[in-house]
Structure formats: C-alpha cells, structure tokens
C-alpha cells in the first residue's frame, strides 16, 4: 500500500515539475519552432504549433545578411580570447593563493570580488575616451581586454576554490622526491587542475558570449558580436519574426549546450563559494 502511494505521489510531482519546466522553456521552444516557419506562418492567427511546412529558408536568409558571419566570428574571438587571457592571468594567481596562502590572501580575494561590483556605467565615459585615445574603439582587442577584466575576479575565485581542493600532501610528497617547482606544476598539479580549469573556461565563455553592456556600447560594426547584431533587429522591417527567431537560435544554441554541461559549476562560479 505504502509503495502505491509513493508512486502515485511521484507521478504527481513529475507532472507538476514537467509543467513548470516546459513553461520556463516555452519561449525558447517557441523561438525554435518559429525559426522553421515561413514569415506568414510565424504570425498566423491562430498560432500554428507543429503542423506547418518546416523550412530552413530563414537560416539561409540570416547567413546571407552581410554582417552575420562577421558577428559570429567576433563573438567567438571575443569570448574565447577574453577567456584565454583571463586564464593566463588567473591560474598563477589562484595557484599561489591556494597553495602559498599569506596573511593577506583573503583580503586580496575579497578585493578582487569587489571590483566585480563596480557598476559599468560608473566607468563608461572614461572607457570610451581611453579607447578613442588608443585608437581601439570598435576593435576586438578592446572587447577581449574589457571582458577579460570584468570576468577576471570570477575566474580567479573559481580556480581558487578548485585548487584548494587539491590535497597539499601530494605536493609535499613530490617535493620530497626532489621535484622542482616547474615539474611540480607541470606533472603534479596540472593533471589535477585540468577539470577545474575546464569548468572555469566553460562558464567564462558563456558569460563573455552573453555580455551585453560593453559589447553594445563599445562596438559599431567591425567588432560587433552577436549581442549587438541581434539588438539591430529591434527596428523591424516588415515581416521578420521567423528571421529574428532563426538569428536568435543561431546566437543561443552553442551556449545553451555549453550551459547545460556547466550547470553545476554555475553555482560555484557565481556565488563565490558562499553556497555549498
């Protein structure tokens, strides 16, 4: 009897949870469906759900828009570039803070976190001015550097929490065996640190890909990534829902997939270890 009740309850919770899950996912599902409709079907009254003539013409149309391939390229270069640069700066820092903690390590970590809380508008004009002075306005390198800097605190924090979980005894053992600092890093630490670094890279690419303040305001055409490209759709020309949907799907699909892989790291990365 007791088991029957449990199964019944389980079915009830399943139905409820799926209902809410589908409700949350619905805007993405709807965008996905619309991206395969003709423009006429996209605004059909009443709306058509699955039974329409599926077409990929919108994807073709978006690809042919002169600036789409450029925007995609910019997004990839900026997201990956800022992540690599951030990792290069953060790995040594996080390594040192995790394995050779000093009196001020905690203060340095908290101070880094505090830079993340600086509102972007507070430094908007100086950034524009400096970019113009240096002649890097609307360039990929500018966005790589800016996005690296706004995400650097998160990268350092995530790596720090991962590195701290690596047992110090292993390091001591390798030192006893006469390993140099270089081989200690290369052969002992790196293999153990790779999973943590990989998750950090993943989360950081997601954050950089979706950043929509600096990418919109510091670019015009040449370095404009997908965030800016999509924002250009806000002034519609005639029928455009299906094309907007196709462009949207192209912009979010890779990140959705990466995001699903990194959902566990998300908590660690964005709460700075405050929730375990």
């Amino acid at each position: 009897m007791a088991r029957a009740v449990t199964t019944q309850k389980k079915i009830m919770w399943t139905a409820l949870a799926w209902a809410f899950g589908l409700l949350m996912f619905f805007p993405i599902l709807w965008t996905f469906l619309t991206s395969f409709k003709t423009e006429a079907a996209a605004i059909a009254d009443p709306p058509v759900w699955f039974l329409f003539d599926w077409t990929t013409e919108n994807y073709a149309a978006v690809q042919q828009r002169s600036n789409y391939p450029l925007a995609l390229m910019n997004s990839i270069i900026i997201a990956v570039g800022s992540t690599i640069l951030g990792i290069l700066l953060a790995v040594p820092a996080a390594w040192a803070m995790a394995f050779v903690p000093g009196k001020r390590t905690k203060d340095v970590l908290l101070w880094m976190l505090s830079t993340k809380m600086l509102p972007a508008v507070g430094v908007l004009y100086p950034l524009v001015l400096l970019a113009k002075w240096l002649g890097v306005m609307d360039s990929r390198i500018l966005l790589i550097v800016v996005l690296m800097l706004i995400n650097l605190p998160i990268i350092v924090w995530m790596l720090y929490t991962y590195f701290r979980e690596i047992p110090g005894e292993i390091l001591e053992a390798s030192r006893m065996d006469g390993a140099s600092l270089k081989s200690e890093i290369l052969y002992v630490l790196t293999p153990m640190a790779v999973p943590g670094i990989a998750s950090t890279v993943l989360l950081n690419i997601i954050l950089a890909w979706n950043e929509a303040f600096w990418t919109i305001l510091l670019t015009t055409v040449d370095a404009a990534p997908l965030t800016k490209f999509i924002a250009g759709f806000s002034a519609p020309e005639g029928l455009f829902y299906a094309k907007l949907s196709a462009a949207s799907m192209l912009a979010i699909a890779p990140i959705l997939i990466m995001g699903w892989f990194s959902q566990k790291q998300l908590v660690r990365g964005l709460t700075f270890g405050a929730v375990k």
Binding site: M24, V100, L118, I216
Partner: protein, 288 residues
C-alpha cells in the same frame, strides 16, 4: 628559506592579476571622479575643469534622478520578489522524487543562458506585441481585448523578461541549498505530525535563509546594471529609465559628461552599499 622563496614566487604569480584589476578599477574611476567635478560637454565645446559639487547638486535634485531611483527600486524589487518566491517553490519541487529530474532541471535552467538581447527581443515581439504576440492571441482566445504590454505596462513587461532570465539562477542556488538539508530532521518532524506548512516555516526556510540572502545580494548587484533589456525594448521611455540607464543617456546620448559622471559616482556608491553586505557573508565563509 624554502618558504621565503615560495612566498616571493607567490607574490610574483599574483601580481599580474592584481595589477590588471587595480589599473582597471582605479584609472577609469579616477577619471569619472575628475569629470564629475567638471562642466564638460564636448558637443558644445564646453570644458571647465572645476565647478565643485555643481554636477552632484543638479543630478541629485533633478526630477529624473528621483524617478530613476523609484524605477530602479520597483524593477529590482519586482524581479527579486518573483525570482525568490518562484525560486524557493521551484527548488522544493525539483527536490521531490520524480521521473526525468535531469531533463526538467535542464529545461528550467535554459533561460539563464539566453543572451539578454535575444530574450528581450523574443519577448518584445513574439509575446508582448499587441498585433502578433502570443499573449494577444491568448487574450483574444479568452474573449478579452488584447493588452499592449510594452506601452501600457512597460516596467512590468521588463520585470517579466528579466525575472524569466534570473529565475533559473535563483532556483539552481536554492536547489543546491535544499539538497544539503538534513532529511532525517524533516522525517522526524513529519512523523511527529508537523503539518507541511510549519515544516516549511520552521525547518526549510531557516535552512534556506543564507542561500536566499546570497541570491538577493548577487542578483541585486547584477540587476542594478540591467541595460540590454531596456535598450532593445523601451530605450528608457515610459518610466523604465533606471539609474544605470539615466547615467548612460547623460553620458552617451546628451553628452553631458560632467553630469553623467556625477551620476556614475552616485551609482558606484549605491552599488557599494549592497556589496559590503555580500562581502561580509562571503568573507565569513572563507574562514571555514
């Protein structure tokens, strides 16, 4: 000897990241501070390096500042209430035994990974649009007059869009916290006959309080600088001009750098007040 050696090595390893962040924080912030005391309007060729607190006085006493503060308050408050209440309920729901839990989790989390310009445009056109939006069809289906969300209730519409993006974040963090709850305690309470509501009130909620605080603080910091969602939906019109958006307009649209910089400094100070509370919690956690 070895420790002294490794300590100095450690300093060298930390230095690049610290210097990069120090420059990033100090140089532009000092420039903003400098401009905030100047009358600087490049479009009109006006530059007067020192006008004292004039910009602060006119920024803080302008009606647009007060209304932007109120808008910011309602926007952040509305999003926080929806995401916290919804997040707690979703977290409790996702913690129940069910079929396909992993898939449901993925469905719920998905909106967090949608870029802000995409979610704003999708909601604006395909849901809120008065002629062709899905909500209009729903209203018509129910025999009601279609409602023009973005011009009749623009603030509410933006709250919905952003809450949809941040509900997954709240859910995920609260779920992590729910899962660390001691289930024996809950079972004991259940056996003792405590009704579900008081189990929630006296066991679950106190356990979640810390995670809720963290969610509130982190979201507040991110929500204070909402930009893209306003940029592509209302462009700050119809009472959706938050403090961040007001400063953006002063600096880049009307090119009144002095006034905008004073506003920027005000925004920095307000964000710092929130940040101090968050840092305390994170700092305490570093010790154990």
């Amino acid at each position: 000897m070895a420790t002294a050696h490794s300590k100095s090595a450690a300093r060298i390893m930390i230095a690049p990241a610290v210097i990069a962040l120090l420059v990033w924080m100090l140089v532009p912030l000092c420039m903003t501070l400098y401009f905030s005391f100047a009358d600087y309007r490049p479009m009109r060729g006006v530059f007067d390096a020192w006008i004292g607190f004039g910009n602060y006085a006119s920024f803080l006493t302008s009606s647009s500042f007060m209304s932007s503060l109120i808008t910011t308050f309602w926007m952040v408050g509305g999003i926080l209430s929806i995401t916290i209440v919804g997040g707690v309920l979703m977290a409790l729901l996702l913690d129940k035994p069910m079929f396909g839990q992993g898939v449901v989790r993925i469905l719920v989390i998905a909106p967090f990974f949608v870029m802000p310009t995409v979610s704003a445009l999708v909601w604006k056109n395909m849901f809120f649009n008065v002629d062709n939006g899905l909500f209009s069809y729903l209203y018509k289906f129910l025999g009601m007059q279609p409602f023009d969300f973005l011009s009749q209730a623009p603030l509410f519409s933006i709250v919905i869009i952003v809450a949809w993006q941040w509900l997954p974040f709240a859910t995920l963090i609260l779920l992590t916290s729910v899962q660390s709850l001691d289930s024996e305690q809950l079972e004991a309470a259940e056996i003792d006959g405590a009704p579900a509501l008081s189990r929630f009130r006296f066991i679950i909620l106190p356990h979640l309080s810390r995670a809720i605080t963290v969610v509130i603080l982190i979201q507040t910091i991110f929500l204070l600088s909402i930009f893209a969602e306003i940029f592509v939906t209302t462009n700050g019109a119809f009472g959706t001009r938050t403090l961040t958006y007001l400063v953006y307009q002063r600096v880049l649209e009307s090119q009144n750098i002095g006034l905008g910089s004073a506003g920027g400094i005000v925004a920095v100070i307000l964000a710092n007040i929130v940040a101090i509370f968050l840092m305390r919690i994170v700092g305490k956690n570093l010790d154990n």
